[in-house]
């Protein structure tokens, strides 16, 4: 007896991207009605001017669906030809069933393999790595990757060190086979020893028992230290594994955690002036797994980035986990 194996496409690339932002704009003035802070302080420490929170009728599900519809339309792939759906989220409150099977059905990707992953702010890049591997192994042909979050539901509005950061939104990409490579080898990893750096204050059992809520708690100083040192080094490693130098890049799209982290990474990477840098945190805040595809979609829509551009993407967050690739923009 010989077990059959299969092989897939030689390469994969992103075929289309989409985004969905909730309708409710929360500016720093409103934020300062919840916490003792100021517009100037928030801007100086994070770059954030306003963020989006879901309003009535909106949810992580509707955001995921709307971002996916736009990504599918932009990709030119028929929904029925999508045979795998991966949703990265930490804020879909049904532990089971996951969001991905429901989303696949709603989108018309009937029967697609569908599952959620939990890798926080690195989740989008984790899922890109999976999609690329699935396509190249032959396990899937077209993969929908979605990052969707409603972090407002996990934000402690009495915590003046985090309340202004977290936000809602969704971004999605369709990935498919390609004759030329459009997704580099992933550089990824975790540091569970530093897990407490970003964590939920309690689990669901504790929340129910103690009548509290599993808010996200973060040691911002430690995150900044890790991101500006270790994660920035990982970004350099991505370039090396891709066979590129900083001069080869057109665009840098780091997870939108904090503009100051992006600034620190830029000083570390010494990217040339021509590289466009994502700054969507200014208007959308930190929406975890959704931030990279939202920024990618925005930059393409505004003309700041162009189809075919070479972009370095890197996500990092609770776990601690990190992942990144160089991708060709759709």
């Amino acid at each position: 007896m010989t077990l059959l194996a299969r092989t897939g496409a030689r390469y994969a690339r992103i075929l289309g991207v989409g985004r969905a932002l909730p309708s409710r704009v929360v500016d720093n003035a409103e934020m300062c009605t919840y916490i003792d802070s100021s517009d100037e302080w928030i801007r100086q420490r994070t770059g954030i001017v306003e963020r989006r929170w879901i309003a009535d009728g909106e949810s992580v599900e509707t955001l995921a669906r709307d971002a996916s519809l736009e990504a599918i339309a932009n990709s030119g792939v028929a929904p029925a030809d999508i045979d795998a759906v991966i949703v990265s989220t930490v804020s879909y409150f049904h532990q089971t069933p996951g969001l991905a099977p429901k989303l696949a059905f709603q989108l018309g990707a009937i029967g697609a393999a569908a599952y959620d992953i939990s890798a926080a702010c690195a989740g989008f890049c984790y899922a890109i790595a999976q999609a690329e591997a699935l396509i190249r192994s032959g396990a899937a042909t077209h993969v929908l990757v979605v990052g969707a979050e409603t972090l407002s539901r996990l934000t402690d509005l009495s915590d003046r060190s985090t309340a202004f950061l977290f936000a809602d939104g969704a971004g999605a990409v369709v990935i498919g086979p390609s004759d030329v490579n459009g997704i580099s080898p992933v550089v990824w990893g975790s540091d569970g020893e530093a897990g407490p750096t970003i964590h939920q204050a309690t689990d669901w059992e504790g929340a129910v028992r103690d009548q509290t809520w599993p808010y996200i708690w973060m040691d911002g100083r430690q995150v900044f230290r890790w991101a500006s040192g270790f994660v920035a080094d990982a970004a350099l490693d991505i370039l090396e594994k891709s066979g590129l130098t900083p001069d080869d890049l057109d665009t840098f799209i780091p997870h939108q955690a904090n503009n100051r982290i992006t600034d620190a990474m830029l000083r570390h990477l010494k990217l040339p002036e021509h590289v466009k840098v994502a700054r969507s945190i200014v208007n959308y805040g930190n929406n975890s797994a959704a931030s990279i595809p939202i920024a990618m979609s925005e930059m393409l829509a505004s003309g700041e980035a162009k189809s075919g551009d070479t972009a370095l993407i890197i996500g990092f967050g609770a776990g601690l986990v990190y992942a990144g690739q160089v991708v060709t923009l759709p």
Partner: protein, 81 residues
């Protein structure tokens, strides 16, 4: 073994890169926060830079004690000794 002057000079360039503070303002008696107007995030980046440029480790407990430029230079000297 770097001299105090060499350490100060490298540190001043680092502080300039991170926080745009003129190199000549970075003197031993200056407080990072009060005199050079460096906020907590910039200070963290300077600590990360010190670790990389001087090949030393600066645990958080120690980082808190580096109030002045002189404190940092002394720490780096002792850590490298």
């Amino acid at each position: 073994m770097a001299t105090s002057e060499e350490i100060l000079s490298t540190l001043a360039e680092l502080v300039y890169d991170v926080a745009d503070v003129p190199v000549e303002d970075v003197q031993l008696d200056k407080s990072f926060v009060d005199d050079l107007d460096i906020d907590s995030l910039a200070m963290v980046e300077i600590i990360v830079g010190i670790e990389e440029k001087f090949g030393v480790t600066v645990p958080d407990d120690e980082a808190k004690n580096l109030k002045t430029v002189g404190d940092a230079v002394t720490y780096i000297e002792q850590a490298k000794a």
